[in-house]
């Protein structure tokens, strides 16, 4: 069963990385990167590294993808090729796919015993609560820094 989930996640990972490499628009690349990070974190949970998976999700999707989106929003729209309608269609599809992928990663029997979502949360916040708090505060500080930079750019 594990090997089938591994095949599914790795196929999606390769497809997402090809999509990132070939998509012409920056916003599409960022959305594919978001989904790529979710797949990588489910791969970590499948490989029995739950903290690494959650830290990947927090740091990459919470920090780096958001910061890259902020950086992309500073580029003028005509150079960005921003297509609002297509993104509005693509985002719900990607969100539904995300909700389907994450429980598969957690269903692994090689993980932390018989994991499911509540036991994974209890495991993380009983063993690594301070580390998750530090990561969250660091990301909050980085977001504040990004807002400060944007305001200073607009003020010029």
């Amino acid at each position: 069963m594990d090997i089938l989930i591994f095949y599914a996640i790795s196929t999606l990972l390769i497809l997402m990385s090809i999509a990132i490499a070939l998509s012409r628009r920056l916003m599409h690349s960022l959305i594919f990167l978001f989904f790529f990070v979710v797949l990588v974190s489910s791969m970590f949970i499948l490989l029995a590294f739950p903290f690494l998976g959650v830290a990947e999700l927090i740091i990459y999707n919470g920090g780096i993808v958001v910061l890259l989106t902020v950086a992309a929003s500073l580029i003028p729209e005509e150079r960005l090729g921003f297509d609002r309608k297509k993104i509005l269609i693509a985002l719900p599809i990607l969100m539904i796919a995300l909700m389907l992928i994450l429980p598969f990663g957690q269903a692994s029997t090689t993980g932390v015993g018989q994991t499911n979502q509540p036991s994974l949360g209890i495991y993380l916040f009983s063993h690594y609560s301070l580390l998750i708090l530090v990561a969250a505060v660091t990301l909050l500080a980085s977001l504040m820094t990004a807002v400060y930079f944007i305001r200073s750019v607009e003020g010029e």
Partner: protein
Amino acid sequence: MIPYEYIFYLTSILFVIAVFGMLMRKNLINFVISIEIVINAALINFAAG
């Protein structure tokens, strides 16, 4: 249990695709996104090894 060779093949494919993406792009943010793929492939490889 997933064999290590499979994960090594997967991360090698991801690395090659990301290097291809890095060479194709001229925009700096696209370059950074491709570097993120390389970093994630290396992370999966470290975790599995």
